[in-house]
Symmetry: C2
Subunit: 356 residues, 2 copies
DNA sequence: CTGAAAGCGCTTACAG
DNA sequence: CTGAAAGCGCTTACAG
């Protein structure tokens, strides 16, 4: 029993200042367990409709919302997953996040995003305290576009620890966790075939210095498509993931003795750099040189002429990946998934110039 | 005392399967409270160094990580704040998020992002369960680019409830919560002055149909700058926030009887639409018509010629806003802040054509 | 310098 | 149909 009587200010009883299930119970004239049952929707056959109504009215009157921390502590689960992406500033990951968050919401989960310090490409300073997001206790992790080893290290050294259920997106299949990918190989195959059909044989490749599965897959698919055709050749230029650096790299390609008639870029951002290089050298797209991108971001239709590229289903990758992770949490190991991309032919590709 | 002895599987004792402070205590041969003290860094003067070492070793050996749910329940605070943005697919908000998350991490807070269903502009389907993010209990809210009333409604109807500490970004000052803004008025003033100095008098305005403070402020600042100069006139076209719609709207402006010599667009995305319209009408930028943007997104340097625009400090808005919110949580009401933008003159502006 | 105890707000067997 | 009780894993006075 309290030695000095109940405190005068009821809010002082709760650190959060918010009403609790006990307050609701008191107002409704029932026990706290009954309130809990009603709120969880587990009352049918256990609590009378009359009581249910009383509880609901009391809850509404007090503006009651269950304390998630208490709920999580009791349940041992948080219904929260972490999404690790290289950079939120890239619209591809914005769309991926949206898809993931929507799929999560449908199953009553929430997602915390974490732009990874593994930093696929951009040289940004990592967070002061990486994985601060892990304040939020986590039920699982969805990680995009990074090597499993880097992620595993990240999780163990600074993160919520190893052993959390994990699904990888846009990452190499067969390395451990289930994966959900875009079928970049099929996309690149279609793109390269499109250029071959137009008559191109001499290719320039703009690839980022980022060493991840997705870019390796693009490279391999491009090479494989070329292998089947005689008389093809290709030169590759590596570049950091910016428009400016890509332009510099493309310039080197264009200045070669036997310059390519098509610039195949591993991303729309790099293609924008290729556009700048072509313009610098006075080359018209597509009359003098064809250029292709990958991803189909906003800039693909902003550049002039509009860019032939491969549309990657970022939103669907996020949604499918989240579903896979939640299945995993439910104890079903999901199959690896590969979602079709789509070749989008616009105005940046044409037959090579006759004189070339 | 347990009636049937301790369970055989230690993991079964904890729903999370993770070691607890009790496990650490047992291994280190101390009490659980001592473990807690050591972990919180509150041991100096209370626990011997020898014991501290033992606790740290035991923690490391078990891979102990404190259970956040328990911590939050006990403390009544979550060290987590919600960031509400219109859309993560817009790079502006990606950068803003990064700034906010970094500032939060520095003070040991984490941030949950929530793309608002209030949807300033894009017609995207709202989440199945708006504010599912509120699973994570919240200490405060940082909301960007929306009206206070919409947000308040959102918080009360589907969210964590009213009364949470709140700071608004890129929103109207003086409506209640503290605000952190870009000084868009100064930016637009500098931009308009730049065009006036070049000799422009007939302006076309491309403004989004989004009804928020930031666009109203841009409009007002533009008008105010024009008011001081005789012989100026302006026509405004409203458009949805896409390149395509902006192009259509710009076309209408260009087809007027007395067409403008400068197209002042409220965002770089709209400016990209203006570029398309100019090209459609065979107008060269900047020789025949000047075009300006706002924000300085990636596309500003991707378009050709590169776009004269106003750079908004998205990252700093996020960081400053987060600091303000954390100050608020500490009990200090922060001052409203207005961060300077910067006029970036590139190649899309020039004097009006002489014959015009 | 260290430990036993209370309690944050829930959920869920268990009794009745 | 309803309630009393245990316990999730912490933090923090309070004793000693």
């Amino acid at each position: 029993m309290p030695p000095t009587g109940p405190p005068a200010n009821p809010a002082a009883r709760h650190p959060t200042g918010r009403p609790t299930a006990r307050d609701v119970a008191k107002l409704a004239g029932v026990s706290q367990s009954t309130v809990s049952l009603v709120h969880a929707g587990k009352w049918p056959g256990r609590v009378s409709e009359r009581t249910v109504r009383a509880v609901n009215e009391a809850s509404a009157a007090l503006g009651y919302r269950p304390n998630q921390a208490a709920r999580q502590l009791r349940l041992g689960a948080t219904r929260t997953v972490l999404l690790v992406v290289p950079a939120l500033s890239n619209p591809f990951f914005g769309a991926l996040h949206t898809g993931a968050a929507e799929a999560a919401a449908r199953r009553d989960f929430s997602v915390v995003v974490f732009p990874s310090p593994v930093e696929a490409g951009t040289e940004r300073a990592p967070f002061a305290s990486p994985f601060a997001a892990a304040h939020t206790a986590l039920d699982g992790v969805l990680a995009s576009s990074m090597a499993y080893e880097s992620l595993a290290e990240l999780l163990t050294t600074t993160g919520p620890g190893p052993g959390l259920p994990l699904v990888m997106l846009d990452s190499e299949p067969g390395t451990g966790p289930p994966t959900v990918n875009a079928d970049v190989a099929a996309g690149m195959h279609a793109l390269t075939t499109h250029l071959l059909d137009l008559g191109h044989r001499n290719f320039g490749r703009l690839v980022p210095t980022i060493d991840t599965w997705t870019f390796a897959a693009r490279e391999n698919a491009h090479r494989a498509a070329l292998d089947g055709v005689s008389g093809t050749r290709g030169t590759t230029a590596r570049t950091r993931f910016t428009v400016h650096d890509a332009a510099v790299a493309a310039l080197a390609l264009l200045d070669a003795a036997d310059p390519p008639t098509a610039l195949v870029c591993d991303d729309d951002v790099l293609a924008a750099g290729a556009y700048k290089a072509a313009r610098t050298r006075g080359l018209r797209i597509p009359e003098d040189i064809s250029v292709t991108g990958f991803d189909d971001l906003l800039i693909a239709t902003v550049v002039e002429p509009e860019l032939t590229t491969v549309r990657l289903p970022a939103h669907r990758i996020g949604a499918t990946g989240m579903s896979a992770l939640l299945d995993l949490l439910d104890g079903h190991r999901p199959d690896d998934a590969s979602l079709a991309g789509e070749l989008v032919v616009r105005a940046s590709t044409a037959p090579p110039p006759p004189a070339a």
